[in-house]
Symmetry: C2
Subunit: 442 residues, 2 copies
């Protein structure tokens, strides 16, 4: 997207004005994390960092945006100096983050921003929506891919995504989460995510004769045609394909009893010697339906998954927050009546311990600590507002996810009733929390 | 978004190539509709047409996009003429649509496209994601606004939206659905949706003293400050505000037992003579929680609703489809083993009957029919690829929604167990279905 500076909540800008007018302009540190794992999730898979850093690097208000704010009624009493300041504002801070394709858990910072407080504050909305959306989708994808037990899963959900950009970003995140590719062509063009396609019912319907539509499609796509069976009757369609001597790459089932139909279609294909022809299935699939289909002996070789992958429909939002943890180097914390909304003060690091190739436990600690034999998850990715390295390719992120997900204990990866992974809080961090609380007089 | 032509599913483009190579280039008519109302919904509120028409008007492939497609493995056997054709392609068709802010029901076309088949086909993905997402959010907003029983509702959900553009479009749709405004500044800048803001916990935490943060904020925003109470302890905070003689526009509660806290805060404010100070509540609200809060006597004057409005989290996708209904003027239909996936052939119109100012019933009919005393919902909005009129303002769309929602029978508007609104299929359309089925030999 272009000109994204106003993609923020108004209160970010009113707070910015209040900080500016009161010359309360110290350096602040914020951390972005997810409070709770959504239902049935034992882990999250981090994604979206590349778009977050691109946004920070490009952050700038255009003259029309500044003019708009100047005339906004909320800013009636704000000085012209503030608008001048905003017009020159760039993000100059430091960012630490967890690499895309890394499994993470509740309350672990995905991102830590340290910058002059106005810069660190106004980026909250964009960072949250970008990181939590892609993390949510990558997580869903990892689950769906796991349910398919080695069979390729393609992301087909752009039409059901929350607008066109959501479809594009979901395709990216789903690939990082382990999908074989997407139907979204723009995700291929912009990010290099492999794109696949079959054909729609409308294609079959645009011909007077179903077989004629198959022949004409197969003629143009001799190696790539996946013929759609269920426009009129799936078994009749496969019989016609066989009788006509077509040898498509695959056939697709998009309605009906997929387990039963797939067995009957496989039987007919095999009987005709079309052993190489794949059976692709779609139709409101998700990790639960796929598990059931495979348990029922469905003969499906590839899955196309739409709504579930583009919207994470059984858990369509993460409890992502962006919390001030330090101001002018001094730890800060929000206290609250609700225990589960409390968080820890100060800059943090997450240390992960691996035993025999399996993740054993994490420690959330102060950033100053160090644990021998563990891997720190957050690394510095931006300094003085500039990225320290180009983003890895989506292929590398996907390979990382595959490698690291395999290190999660299988019980934590369970799709319906996952075990809690062991995440501890360091003694130093607990101490800091107690001290900060005391300092606040509570 | 810029350069949106590739925001489509690959199969739209492979089908386009197959149509082109086989010179199967007749005029096609597609209709976009939602198959089923989501759980607990008795109606949908149409939205998103302006963005859909903008996309159609601007549709064009850039040279880098064409080059990308030329090198895509799926197109290896496709002729250079096809890419030349694509490079000059513009949308030249006719569009009929339901106006934004109109209540609609399952199986009623929101949009009908008639164009050369390639043009009509490749726009499927973008049209579906754009219209169904905003329709879903406008519907959710109408529900949340109804639950607030006259109290203003502001949309606060950009941070939980499915990426930055989803937040922007959700803010627009939520306003059309009846919200008072949004926190999303870009929705104000780009669409004119009023934007509101309060302050965040981080602002309070960035000061050593809570009261100091309130004073400094109120100094800069004397008429607009909504002070956030629950950073440390909500009742202590309101006591400090009163003792300091601040007279904010409002105070906000964002955690804890909102019903109880709001009563206690109201009592303290009133006792101090701050009768005009509003109590604003947020914290994972939706139509169900708001109904319960008000039933419990909560003293809340305004609501800020985030996740629910930005994601329609209890029903985060609509069963939107885009179906070929005619080719070269001849009606087409998809038959299927699943009854609920069947649809009717031919161009359609929806006729709505009003009795005593209340919607009485709709008839889904062939476009050629006419019913005296009814209002046809679809009107022609684009001809030869050009819009016939500028889009109404979002204010007009919102006013239309308010006016038309009031005409729905209250039983259909019920938030948990709505009655079915009466939607009939005309005798002519049923006849056409039978004829088409017979022609297809079934």
């Amino acid at each position: 997207m272009e000109d994204t500076a106003l993609l923020t909540d108004l209160y970010e800008l009113t707070m910015a004005a209040a900080y500016f007018e009161n010359r309360h302009l110290g350096t602040a540190t914020f951390e972005l994390f997810v409070r709770r794992l959504p239902p049935r999730r034992g882990y999250l898979l981090a994604a979206g960092l590349e778009q977050a850093l691109e946004y920070l690097e490009g952050l700038a208000f255009t003259p029309p945006q500044i003019d708009f704010l100047r005339r906004h009624p909320a800013f009636a009493k704000v000085s012209e100096e503030f608008f001048h300041y905003l017009s020159r504002l760039r993000f100059t801070g430091e960012v630490w983050a967890v690499a895309e394709g890394t499994p993470v858990f509740a309350n672990q910072p995905l991102l830590r921003v340290t910058a002059p407080i106005i810069e660190a504050q106004i980026v909250e909305t964009f960072l949250l929506t970008t990181l939590t959306f892609q993390t949510m989708i990558a997580t869903k994808a990892a689950r769906v891919v796991a349910s398919a037990a080695g069979r390729p899963v393609a992301e087909f959900g752009s039409r059901r995504a929350h607008g066109p950009l959501a479809g594009l970003l979901a395709a990216r995140a789903a690939y990082i989460g382990g999908c074989a590719g997407t139907a979204n062509v723009d995700a291929h063009f912009r990010f290099g995510v492999p794109s696949f396609g079959t054909l729609a019912h409308s294609f079959v319907m645009a011909y007077d004769d179903e077989l004629e539509s198959f022949r004409e499609f197969a003629r143009v796509f001799p190696e790539h045609s996946v013929l759609l069976l269920d426009t009129y009757n799936s078994l009749h369609a496969v019989d016609k394909i066989i009788a006509a001597g077509l040898r498509p790459y695959g056939v697709r089932l998009d309605s009906g009893n997929l387990a039963e139909l797939s067995k009957q279609v496989r039987e007919r294909l095999d009987r005709a010697g079309l052993h190489a022809t794949k059976i692709v299935a779609s139709s409101d699939l998700d990790e639960y339906v796929i598990t059931e289909l495979l348990a029922g002996g469905a003969r499906i070789d590839e899955f196309g998954v739409g709504t579930a992958l583009a919207t994470s429909n059984d858990a369509p939002a993460l409890s992502g927050v962006y919390k001030l943890v330090a101001y002018e180097g001094e730890p800060r914390v929000k206290l609250t009546e609700e225990e589960d909304k409390a968080s820890y003060p100060g800059s943090k690091q997450v240390f992960r311990f691996v035993e025999d190739g399996v993740y054993a436990r994490d420690i959330i600690a102060t950033a100053a600590e160090n644990y021998a034999g563990s891997e720190p998850l957050l690394t510095c990715v931006m300094r003085d507002g500039a990225r320290l390295a180009p983003a890895p390719s989506v292929h590398d992120m996907r390979a990382r996810a595959v490698r690291l997900l395999a290190k999660l204990p299988p019980s934590v990866r369970d799709l319906t009733n996952p075990a809690n992974y062991r995440v501890e809080v360091s003694a130093k961090l607990k101490e800091l929390f107690a001290e900060t609380k005391q300092r606040l007089g509570r």
